[in-house]
């Protein structure tokens, strides 16, 4: 900087060079400022609508927060957090969310990887099959939730109709009104709609493996299983990490399917953490409590993602 200043002073003393000196300084200033200026729009939006709410969430979680104007919001310290551990519905909701993650994520990934391995380029019409498998991903959760509700309707639903053909008399199971069948419908729907996403990511990852690597392993006499275990899977570890982290984060916020199919019922038995948080905030207006729940969940998920990325990175080395 000082060198620059001196340069400018120097050139300023000689009138003809002054212009070039000043413009060079402004040029340098501009070069320093450019990346920051490029970042400003994104930073502003992101800061106001994502980062500030994160702070605000923690803030609210320490108050007995109401949204009604004129009502006082007393500071209650950690009591919203301690209340979480004494809430019986939380236990159900946490269990349901956990089950949802451990059931839907691995199955989606397994089917997605299997489909990606089968539908390679050499296959006739591979683009068509790929499009078919991906289409559920772009559909709306509200729409497909009701399509599945309809398929599993107690009166005249397709599932009961098919079951009736097998057993020989009318079946009227109310799938979405009982805890475990309702959970099953929700899982099935989520897997069905999610497979295409991991499929497309794995497809890209498999395409990226050098072909010679696989062929030389095969020439060395490795069978399919060993080729997959020793060559293919290690090569796509990055994609596996990526898919796992994003699917778990996505599964942890399972909301629309449950909200539309069961509303968390019967008697809160299909509630997930997200639907329960939503209910606490926007039906019971317990904003402070819901914010505490959301904050706790955010910290847990953040820790999980960081840990998972680190573990899978270590294996990479």
């Amino acid at each position: 900087m000082s060198k620059m200043d001196r340069l400018e002073q120097h050139s300023a003393s000689k009138a003809p060079v002054a212009v070039s000196g000043r413009s060079r300084r402004s040029l340098r200033a501009r070069r320093i400022a450019t990346p920051y200026l490029l970042l400003v729009p994104a930073l502003v939006i992101y800061g106001v609508f994502t980062i500030y709410p994160i702070y605000r969430q923690f803030d609210i979680s320490f108050y007995n927060w109401h949204i009604f104007p004129g009502v006082s919001d007393p500071f209650v310290g950690w009591s919203n957090y301690t209340a979480i551990f004494h809430d019986p519905v939380i236990r159900t909701a946490a269990f349901n969310s956990f089950l949802f993650i451990v059931i839907t994520v691995p199955i989606q990934m397994a089917i997605g990887l299997f489909a990606a391995a089968v539908l390679t380029d050499h296959m006739p019409g591979s683009m068509f099959w790929r499009a078919c498998i991906y289409i559920p991903v772009v559909t709306s959760w509200v729409v497909v939730s009701w399509v599945f509700s309809y398929i599993f309707a107690s009166q005249g639903g397709v599932m009961n109709g098919l079951a009736g053909l097998f057993v020989g008399h009318t079946v009227s199971v109310d799938w979405t009104a009982q805890t475990w069948t309702a959970n099953g419908v929700i899982w099935l729907l989520s897997i069905w709609k999610g497979v295409g996403w991991s499929f497309i990511i794995f497809l890209a990852a498999l395409d990226g493996i050098p072909r010679q690597l696989v062929e030389s392993a095969r020439i060395d006499g490795a069978n399919e299983f060993r080729v997959w275990r020793n060559v293919v899977l290690p090569s796509i570890r990055g994609a596996v990490t990526f898919v796992t982290v994003l699917l778990v984060i996505g599964a942890a916020q399972v909301f629309t399917q449950i909200f539309e199919i069961t509303k968390g019922g019967p008697y809160n038995s299909t509630q997930s953490l997200m639907t329960y948080m939503y209910q606490q905030a926007f039906s019971n207006f317990a904003f402070g409590y819901a914010a505490a729940l959301a904050s706790l969940l955010a910290v847990i998920l953040f820790g999980f993602s960081a840990a998972e990325i680190r573990i899978l990175r270590q294996h990479d080395v």
Partner: protein, 306 residues
């Protein structure tokens, strides 16, 4: 992007993956004709099963939307015996789905444009400049990827209330842009970095300014990637439900998912118009997806996620 097309062929001989290795040694070097044909056949069967499962519920929805409303429940035939477009007429006109459609279109389009422009600027800074705090700012953006967006519903609701942006499409767009930015920046940075610097240098020698380099060179070269990213953002904001449900109150501002959920709550038995409206809500995203398909290969496999 051409360097990624070259790697496209590899997995042919890896499939099917979980098949027990019971082949004659000849297949190790290259599958015999019979083996290849049989394998192709079983792959075709798997492809058909996967596709039918994927499209089945949607085709069923399509079929239901053409059934007369009366005989709807219990319809187990895929081809309607007395097809009618009455459901569509009803959904589009009487139930103001045309209005929700327009709202969704405005929101999704605005979200795509703003997100892609802002993310391109930021990704360009990350891909091409060295500056203090670069890594910190980048991780600052990435951090929110690890936290589910929905968890911010409460503070975002209060913020929107404060900014008088509750029940407004503008507010919705701002929230969608904020939630789509990190991922988009992350992907576009990878794509921009893959573009050789030499192009840019010759461009700059002609005296082009930074923004000219970005819009005139980098963005056109990254167009396949941007098309794919735009498709992701479009379908995400077109289908988004929880945030819209929370922020939007009056029916004139409903987007399609909120309108659909509200409709089913009010008219529990009007399945015909509901499925017609569902088809109306589903077709645009599928069309956008199919259009983006031609860039899918080069865009997605660009390696930002490896």
């Amino acid at each position: 992007m051409s360097r990624f097309d070259g790697t496209a062929t590899l997995s042919t001989e890896m499939a099917p993956p979980k098949k027990p290795p019971k082949k004659p040694p000849a297949t190790a070097a290259g599958p015999g004709l019979f083996g290849a044909r049989r394998r192709n056949k079983s792959r075709l069967v798997i492809a058909i099963i996967l596709s039918v499962t994927s499209l089945g519920p949607l085709l069923y929805m399509l079929s239901l939307s053409f059934q007369p409303n009366g005989g709807l429940l219990g319809a187990t035939v895929l081809i309607p015996t007395h097809p009618t477009v009455q459901n569509y007429v009803q959904a589009w006109t009487e139930n103001s789905f045309s209005h929700y459609f327009l709202n969704s279109l405005i929101v999704a389009f605005a979200t795509v444009v703003i997100t892609v422009v802002f993310a391109s600027l930021a990704a360009f800074a990350f891909a091409r400049y060295q500056f203090p705090l670069k890594q910190t700012i980048f991780y600052f953006f990435l951090a929110s990827l690890a936290v589910p967006n929905l968890l911010l519903l409460i503070p975002q609701f209060l913020l929107m209330d404060r900014l008088h942006l509750l029940d407004s499409l503008t507010g919705l767009v701002l929230l969608y842009v904020a939630s789509n930015l990190p991922f988009t920046i992350f992907l576009l940075r990878g794509f921009f970095e893959a573009i050789p610097k030499e192009y840019e240098e010759s461009f700059r020698l002609d005296g082009a300014r930074t923004l000219r380099v970005l819009w005139g060179l980098i963005v056109p070269l990254a167009l396949p990637a941007i098309a794919v990213v735009s498709m992701f953002i479009f379908s995400a904001s077109w289908d988004e439900f929880p945030v819209a449900l929370t922020m939007i109150n009056s029916s004139q501002n409903y987007t399609l998912p909120v309108g659909l959920a509200d409709f089913i709550g009010v008219h529990t038995v009007a399945w015909g118009p509901f499925f017609a409206a569902s088809v109306i809500a589903t077709v645009p995203v599928i069309v956008v997806f199919l259009i983006s398909l031609r860039w899918f290969r080069s865009g997605v496999s660009l390696g930002a996620i490896r």
